[in-house]
């Protein structure tokens, strides 16, 4: 039976699309975790903790949202954590030297973006597999950051700048507003623009995408550039939140960001997933880590749990995919 015939014979599509259903399941999972945690810990439902979860999830989302686009093209960016570290250290230096937060923010975004474009060039022009290219970039960036900082810490930024990370507006942390903005922009870009749809097409079937005239190299460059710029964006919020920059701030960021993307239902094999799903993924992972914190589980368990979740998420994705195809 041909695929077309199969489609014709398939039952009529339900009111809720498959993608929406997948996200609904994930939202229910997040709700379930909330219910369990509110029973296990008294402090979980306190306003302070909920705002804390939202802020943590926002920070994770900034990195993970750009990464989502990369994973949609069946690539991977392992350098995001190291990118955050270098961008934060350079932006911090600029703010302290010039006293201008605006210049600092621009430096952070530019550093992140340039690193992303370099990743994109390695993948497109040099044709190095993305996970190796960005892994190489990770160690180059790590080396540069440690060399540049030489064990120093940059500390103390203007109060106005620190508002970006630790301020409140109408009772909600500023990063949550940034999250909403980037969630809206990311969703519209991916779902409603030609470039966004071309990114999906590139990931789903690169050969078909090339034959239908999509400039694949340029779209890949864009995707890695956006991923790098979002890492630069995250570095600014981290800088404002921590009020200090150190060479090692990015080390524990990459694995959770990848986990958020995969929990959110974006497939490693490309072409499937949404930016909103990644937001839900970031929320679920933050809730789990926050719960472990509240139940005073040793922090060393966090990478273990995140690692297991990454593997589980890919496995579930592959299972469901095999069943539908």
């Amino acid at each position: 039976m041909t695929d077309l015939a199969k489609q014709a014979l398939a039952p009529p599509r339900s009111l809720v699309s498959g993608d929406a259903l997948q996200i609904l399941y994930r939202l229910l999972a997040a709700l379930l975790i909330c219910v369990v945690l509110s029973f296990l810990s008294d402090s979980f439902l306190s306003l302070g903790n909920i705002l804390n979860v939202l802020r943590q999830a926002s920070l994770m989302f900034f990195i993970a949202s750009g990464l989502t686009l990369v994973v949609l093209t069946a690539g991977l960016d392992l350098s995001v954590g190291a990118n955050v570290a270098l961008s934060a250290c350079l932006a911090g230096t600029v703010i302290q030297q010039t006293g201008s937060p605006t210049l600092g923010v621009l430096t952070g975004l530019a550093t992140g973006g340039i690193i992303g474009l370099l990743n994109g060039m390695m993948v497109t022009a040099l044709r190095i597999p993305s996970f190796i290219a960005t892994y190489g970039m990770l160690w180059v960036l790590n080396g540069l950051t440690y060399w540049y900082m030489a064990g120093e810490t940059i500390h103390g930024f203007p109060p106005g700048f620190r508002q970006i990370g630790s301020g409140y507006l109408f009772g909600l942390p500023i990063p949550v507003y940034l999250l909403l903005i980037f969630l809206a922009v990311g969703t519209i870009f991916a779902q409603r623009t030609t470039w966004g749809q071309e990114i999906y097409a590139t990931g789903a079937n690169p050969v078909a995408a090339r034959l239908s005239g999509i400039p694949i190299a340029r779209r890949l460059l864009l995707v890695y550039g956006v991923s790098g710029t979002m890492a630069g964006m995250a570095s600014i919020v981290f800088l404002a939140r921590l009020n200090s920059a150190e060479a090692d701030i990015g080390e524990s960021l990459t694995l959770p960001a990848i986990a958020a993307v995969l929990i959110g239902g974006t497939s490693l094999f490309g072409g499937v997933g949404t930016v909103f799903g990644t937001f839900v993924g970031a929320l679920i992972l933050t809730l789990v880590l926050n719960g472990m914190n509240l139940l005073s589980v040793n922090a060393s368990w966090q990478p273990i749990v995140t690692g297991v979740i990454v593997v589980l998420a890919v496995w579930v994705d592959m299972k469901t995919r095999r069943r539908t195809s």
Binding site: W139, V140, Y146, S300, P303, G307, W315
Partner: protein, 316 residues
């Protein structure tokens, strides 16, 4: 059909130039600019220090030949080196420490192989997951502290000599010989070539390719156990970040050595030269009093350059 013919593994001798030129260039540059680089003591030092990396790069070659990757090797090495320290401290026996480390490494390797072969999870993600697990477990069993006061029998492994040759170098040479025989003179080795080049053919020949793949990853874990002993002996303690990033040096050695990431053909002797090249690069930069961060960045650049040339070759 033509594609199939041109993608056959080429004559390995064609690849000698790449890694040999790299090595000669590095030696020439550091010989002229780094003080004391060419002294016999320093050359022995480079060789002895390269042995830990050799333990990881040999199995990494086999894993990359199966179109796989093991990002967890450095973290697993950290874990096994802590196991060596803790077990030998508790029992006073170096051999029990080594046995426990090899066992622990084998468990991690088998889990990696199972995730990749049986569940079909892409290797770089599967091993990224075990990387996190090994890192967390290392912090838990060490409580984030160094394990000190380990017995002399462990320390002596690093400083002792056999007929004038340091014991770590002997272990590295024996391991190289074992892997050479395994890869080029046993059926298992032939299957490894097939796992990367033509997995379908293995299936039609009625071979359990899953079990072969698990065995390849398990070998990697066990070698990380042996490397754990050398690492603990070298540092005279177990440290919860001992192996941080070493998997990348191993990948660098394999890439520089001319093993391809996409075509399932590998070259073990190239890896050995690649290990020495990475060792020379780190040692030379060290002698020039450049910080280890610059060494890390240089190894990263070395990999990117090596892969660029690998890509050029595969296109021509």
């Amino acid at each position: 059909m033509r594609e199939a013919i041109t993608s056959l593994p080429g004559n390995p001798l064609q690849r000698i130039p790449g890694v040999a030129v790299t090595l000669v260039l590095l030696v020439a540059v550091f010989g002229s600019v780094a003080p004391g680089f060419l002294s016999p003591a320093n050359i022995t030092n480079v060789l002895v220090q390269s042995t830990v990396l050799m333990m990881l790069a040999l199995p990494m070659t086999l894993i990359i030949m199966t179109e796989g990757l093991d990002l967890s090797m450095g973290a697993v090495l950290t874990f096994t080196s802590l196991v060596v320290a803790i077990v030998s401290l508790a029992t006073g026996s170096m051999l029990l420490g080594l046995g426990a480390a090899i066992l622990a490494g084998a468990v991690f390797g088998t889990v990696n192989g199972w995730l990749v072969a049986t569940l079909g999870i892409p290797p770089f993600v599967a091993t990224l997951g075990t990387l996190g697990t090994a890192q967390g477990l290392s912090l838990i069993i060490s409580d984030g502290q160094s394990v000190v006061g380990i017995p002399h029998s462990v320390r002596d492994i690093y400083s002792a000599t056999v007929a004038g040759v340091p014991v770590p170098v002997v272990i590295a040479l024996v391991s190289y010989a074992a892997f050479h025989i395994l890869l080029y003179h046993t059926r298992f080795g032939t299957y490894i070539f097939a796992l990367g080049g033509n997995r379908e053919a293995l299936k039609y020949a009625g071979l359990a390719s899953n079990r072969l793949l698990i065995a390849v990853y398990a070998t990697g874990g066990m070698m990380a156990g042996v490397a754990g002993l050398l690492m603990t002996a070298r540092m005279n303690s177990g440290h919860p970040t001992a192996g941080l990033g070493l998997e990348f040096d191993a990948i660098a050695a394999v890439a520089v050595g001319g093993t391809s990431f996409e075509r399932g053909n590998g070259w073990l002797f190239g890896t050995a030269l690649g290990v020495i090249a990475v060792g020379v690069l780190r040692n030379g930069l060290n002698l020039m009093a450049l910080p280890s961060s610059i060494q890390v960045a240089s190894v990263g650049l070395l990999v990117i350059v090596a892969l660029f040339f690998d890509g050029l070759r595969s296109r021509s």
